[in-house]
C-alpha cells in the first residue's frame, strides 16, 4: 500500500512535502488520486470475505474457522463457501449451537497460539458468548501482564437486515467499542473488508469484525493491489472517502453508502461534504476526524445503532475535547431510533437513518452560522 501511495505522489518528494505541512496523517488514508488504478475489477463483499479467509488460511496453518454452519452448509450467508472442501473439517469446524461453549473453546485455543476465526451467525447471538469475548478474551492480556495474548477474530453480520425483527437487528459497535482490550473493525467496501479482515486475522489481539448482511451482495471496484494476497489495511485508521470543505460526515459500515449518497445530493445544492469512513471503531481514529472538523468546522455523525452511548456520542465528545473552538455549529448525531427494531417495513424504515435524514442534518449544520 505504501508503494502505491508513493507512486501516485510521484516519489518521495511529494510525500515529504505533505509531511512538512502537517498533513502527514492524511497519507495513511488511501485516497484515489488518479484513475490509473481505477479498477476494472469488481468484487462483492462476500467474495472479499471469502478470498481473505482463503488466503489467510492457506498462508498460516494455525488459522481455523469455527462457527455454526460454516462447513457443510457453506456458511449461513455463504461467506465460507468452498473452504471446507479446501481445508477439511479440522480447520473449518461446524459447531453445535453453543455460542458460549465454542467461543470459549476458540479463546482457549488462542491462548495456545492458534488463530481462530469465530463466526457468529449474527452478532446478536454473540450476546450468549459475551462473557468469553470480554472476560476471557479482551481482558486476558492485561490480567496476565502480557504473558498470554489472544489472537482471535470474532466476525459476523451486525446491525439491521431487512425485516428480521428486534432480536436480530441490533448494532453492537458501541458496546464492543467501549471495552479496552478489544479492537473493533467495521468495513464498508470490498477493499475495506479484504484489508481489514486480513489485518484482523494476523493481529495478535482479539478483534471484533462487524460486517453487514445487506452489504454482502454489493459489488465494489477493487484496485489491483487490494487483490494481492499480502494486502492488508492498518487498524485504527479511518478513510476519507470524499474530500470536502463544508461539513464532515462520519459513518461506518452500511451508513457510509448512505453518507456518500447524501454527499452527492448536498453537492448539487452547493454544500461540499467530506465523508469519513471510520473503518475502525476501536481504536477510533480521532486524529483524522478532528483534522477534518478543523477544516470544515461542522460535523454530522451517522450510525445505525441506538443513540444513547453510541459511537456518535463518543465522536462528538472527542471533537468537543480537542477541536471545540473550530466548531461553527452543534454536532448533529444521526442514529437509529431509540426503540427495539420493529418488524413492519414502514416502521423499520422510520427506525433506521435514511439518506434524507443525513442530508437534513448536514443542511442544519450549514444554516446555523456563528
Amino acid at each position: 500500500m505504501w508503494g502505491t501511495v508513493r507512486q501516485r505522489l510521484g516519489g518521495y518528494s511529494a510525500y515529504y512535502s505533505l509531511q512538512r505541512i502537517g498533513l502527514g496523517h492524511l497519507l495513511n488514508s488511501s485516497k484515489c488520486y488518479s484513475s490509473e488504478a481505477a479498477a476494472a475489477k469488481k468484487m462483492t463483499v462476500r467474495e472479499a470475505l471469502n478470498s481473505a479467509l482463503d488466503e489467510e488460511m492457506s498462508a498460516d496453518p494455525k488459522v481455523f474457522l469455527m462457527g455454526e454452519e460454516v462447513g457443510e452448509y457453506q456458511g449461513a450467508y455463504k461467506i465460507s463457501k468452498g473452504l471446507l472442501e479446501k481445508y477439511g473439517p479440522e480447520r473449518v469446524c461446524d459447531t453445535p449451537i453453543t455460542e458460549a461453549g465454542f467461543t470459549g473453546i476458540g479463546v482457549g485455543a488462542a491462548y495456545y497460539g492458534l488463530k481462530p476465526v469465530v463466526e457468529f451467525m449474527t452478532f446478536n447471538f454473540a450476546m450468549q458468548a459475551m462473557d468469553h469475548i470480554i472476560n476471557s478474551a479482551a481482558k486476558t492480556n492485561y490480567m496476565s501482564a502480557g504473558q498470554i495474548s489472544v489472537p482471535i477474530v470474532f466476525r459476523g453480520p451486525n446491525g439491521a437486515a431487512a425485516g428480521v425483527g428486534a432480536q436480530h437487528s441490533q448494532c453492537y459497535a458501541a458496546w464492543y467499542g467501549s471495552c479496552p482490550g478489544l479492537k473493533v473493525l467495521a468495513p464498508y467496501s470490498s477493499e475495506d473488508t479484504r484489508g481489514l479482515l486480513k489485518a484482523a486475522i494476523r493481529d495478535p489481539d482479539p478483534v471484533i469484525f462487524l460486517e453487514n448482511e445487506l452489504l454482502y451482495g454489493e459489488s465494489f471496484p477493487v484496485s489491483a493491489e487490494a487483490v494481492d494476497s499480502s494486502f492488508c489495511l492498518p487498524i485504527g485508521k479511518a478513510k476519507i472517502e470524499i474530500e470536502g470543505k463544508d461539513v464532515t460526515i462520519t459513518a461506518f459500515s452500511k451508513m457510509v453508502g448512505y453518507a456518500l449518497k447524501a454527499a452527492e445530493i448536498l453537492a448539487k445544492e452547493g454544500i461540499s461534504a467530506e465523508v469519513i469512513n471510520l473503518r475502525s471503531i476501536r481504536p477510533l481514529d480521532r486524529a483524522t476526524i478532528n483534522a477534518s472538523v478543523r477544516k470544515t468546522n461542522r460535523l454530522v455523525t451517522v450510525e445505525e445503532g441506538f443513540p444513547q452511548h453510541g459511537v456518535g456520542a463518543e465522536i462528538c465528545t472527542s471533537v468537543i475535547e480537542e477541536s471545540f473552538e473550530y466548531l461553527d455549529a452543534p454536532v448533529e448525531r444521526i442514529a437509529g431510533a431509540d426503540v427495539p427494531m420493529p418488524y413492519a417495513a414502514n416502521l423499520e424504515r422510520m427506525a433506521l437513518p435514511q439518506v434524507e435524514d443525513v442530508v437534513r442534518a448536514a443542511k442544519r449544520t450549514c444554516y446555523r452560522s456563528v
Binding site: T95, T140, S144, A145, A199, K237, D285
Partner: protein, 431 residues
C-alpha cells in the same frame, strides 16, 4: 479411533450399596449400560458407593481400597506409591495448606485485599491430579486457584506477591487472587465467573489435538485438566463443553471438586440429580466418582483419566468428593454449614491421612515429614518477606499490556507491527 482398547481401570466390582434415593433410579440411570461404542467404559465403576442424597457421606476410608488392591502392582510391594512419590505428594499438600493459612493471616492483617478464596481441605485433588502432569500440560481453574498454581510449579513467591498486588507477582499485580496466569507453567487462569474456565480448557485441549493433526506435531499429546466446583455443574457452559469434548474426543479431564457448597447454596438444594459423575455418560464419556479427601485414590483415578486423554481416547469426567474447611471466601461468615459436617470432614484431613498411610507402611519416618513441614514453613515465610519487600507496580504500568500490539495499528503486509515502520504515523492509535 481406538474404540476397543481397554482402559486399565479396575475390574468391575458388584455395586454393593445403593442409597434409598437411587433405588428407583437404578434402572433408568444405570450408568454402565452405555453404548458399546464407548469401548471399555463399562469397566469404569465408581469406586465407592453412591452417596446418599442428603445424608452423611461415608465414614473415613483408609487409603488403600479393595478396588485398587486388585490392580497389578508394578513394584514388589503392594503399595500405591514409592517413598519419593509419597514425599513429593506430602510436600505439595503441606505447601498448599501452609500457603493458604498464611493467606488468611495476611488478609486479616490487611496485606491482601479483595476476594480471596482458600483451598484448605481440598489439597488432595490438586496434588493428586497436577503432580501427574508435565510442564506442557495445562490447568484451567476457578477463583480458588492459588493451590492449583502452586502444584503446577508457579513459585510461592510469585503467587504471594501477586496476592499482595506487587509488581513481582506472576501477573505483575494486574491479575490478583482470582486471575493467576502463568505461560511458563501453562496455568491458564484463574477465572472469576464459574464455568468460564471450562470452555477455555476445552479450547486448550482442542489446540493440542489441532497441533497433532493439522500442524503435524506428532508428539504433541498435551493434556488439559479443568477444575471446577459442584455449582458449576448446573451451568450451561459445562454441558456445552462436555458435549463438544466428547464429540471431538479432546484430550481433557474435567475434574469436579464437589465440596457440597456453592457459597451458601447446598449442592443438593441446587441440583436435580446430585450425582455429578452420571452426567459424563449422558454425553458419551466415562463418569467416575472418587473420594477426594484421599490423595492416593485421586491419583489412581487421575492416572487413568490422564492416560486416556494422552492416548487420544477422549475426555473423562471425574467427580471428587471433597470439602473446604474454611468458608467460600475470607469474607464468608460460613454460618450455614453444620458444625457436625465440618467436624466429620476435618477428621478426614487429606494430609493427616497420607501421613498415617506412609508411616503405617514404613515408607517414611516422622522426622522426615517434620523436616518437610519445617522446610515449607520457611518457604512460605520467605514468600511473605519477598512479597512485602517487593515494589508496588509503577504508574507507567497502568496502561500497559492492554494489547499485545504495542500501538494498536495491527500488522502490516511485511509481517511486522506497523508501528515499527518508521514511515508510519507517529502517535498511538488510541488517545
Amino acid at each position: 479411533m481406538s474404540l476397543t482398547t481397554s482402559t486399565k481401570f479396575a475390574q468391575p466390582l458388584p455395586l454393593n450399596t445403593t442409597s434409598s434415593r437411587s433405588k428407583e433410579h437404578k434402572l433408568l440411570f444405570e450408568p454402565f449400560r452405555t453404548n458399546t461404542f464407548l469401548g471399555s467404559t463399562h469397566k469404569l465403576r465408581c469406586f465407592n458407593s453412591l452417596s446418599k442424597s442428603n445424608l452423611h457421606r461415608r465414614s473415613a476410608i483408609v487409603a488403600v481400597s479393595d478396588v485398587v488392591k486388585e490392580k497389578k502392582s508394578k513394584s514388589s510391594t503392594n503399595l500405591l506409591i514409592t517413598k519419593e512419590e509419597g514425599l513429593e505428594l506430602y510436600e505439595d499438600m503441606v505447601l498448599g495448606r501452609a500457603f493458604e493459612d498464611m493467606c488468611a493471616q495476611m488478609y486479616y492483617r490487611g496485606k491482601m485485599f479483595g476476594f480471596v478464596h482458600l483451598y484448605n481441605g481440598q489439597e488432595a485433588v490438586s496434588t493428586g491430579f497436577i503432580k501427574l502432569l508435565k510442564q506442557e500440560d495445562s490447568v484451567a481453574s476457578t477463583y480458588r486457584d492459588h493451590v492449583h498454581s502452586l502444584s503446577k510449579g508457579v513459585s510461592a513467591r510469585a503467587v504471594m506477591s501477586e496476592l499482595f498486588g506487587k509488581a513481582t507477582g506472576c501477573c505483575r499485580g494486574q491479575g490478583g487472587s482470582m486471575h493467576m496466569f502463568s505461560k511458563e507453567h501453562n496455568v491458564l487462569g484463574g477465572f472469576a465467573f464459574i464455568g468460564e474456565g471450562i470452555p477455555v480448557a476445552t479450547g486448550a485441549a482442542f489446540s493440542s489435538k489441532y497441533r497433532r493433526e493439522v500442524l503435524k506435531e506428532a508428539d504433541c499429546d498435551h493434556v488439559t485438566v479443568a477444575f471446577f466446583g459442584d455449582g458449576t455443574c448446573n451451568n450451561g457452559q459445562f454441558f456445552e463443553c462436555l458435549n463438544m469434548a466428547a464429540l471431538w474426543k479432546l484430550p481433557i479431564v474435567f475434574v469436579v471438586e464437589n465440596n457440597l457448597w456453592a457459597i451458601g447454596m447446598s449442592h443438593v438444594r441446587a441440583t436435580s440429580d446430585p450425582e455429578i459423575w452420571k452426567k459424563g455418560p449422558a454425553f458419551g464419556m466415562p463418569g467416575v466418582h472418587v473420594d477426594g479427601m484421599d490423595v492416593l485414590k485421586v491419583r489412581e483415578v487421575a492416572k487413568e483419566a490422564i492416560g486416556r486423554a494422552r492416548r487420544g481416547e477422549g475426555p473423562t469426567l471425574v467427580e471428587c468428593e471433597t470439602y473446604r474447611f474454611r468458608g467460600h471466601s475470607l469474607a464468608d461468615p460460613d454460618e450455614l454449614r453444620d458444625p457436625a459436617e465440618k467436624a466429620h470432614y476435618a477428621a478426614r484431613d487429606p494430609i493427616t491421612a497420607l501421613k498415617r498411610y506412609m508411616i503405617d507402611n514404613n515408607l517414611v519416618t516422622e522426622q522426615e515429614l517434620k523436616t518437610i513441614e519445617k522446610k515449607i514453613d520457611e518457604v512460605v515465610e520467605d514468600a511473605v518477606e519477598f512479597a512485602d519487600e517487593s515494589p508496588h507496580p509503577p504508574r507507567s504500568q497502568l496502561l500497559e499490556n492492554v494489547f499485545a500490539d504495542p500501538k494498536g495499528f495491527g500488522i502490516g503486509p511485511d509481517g511486522r507491527y506497523r508501528c515499527e515502520d518508521p514511515k508510519f504515523t507517529q502517535g498511538t492509535a488510541h488517545v
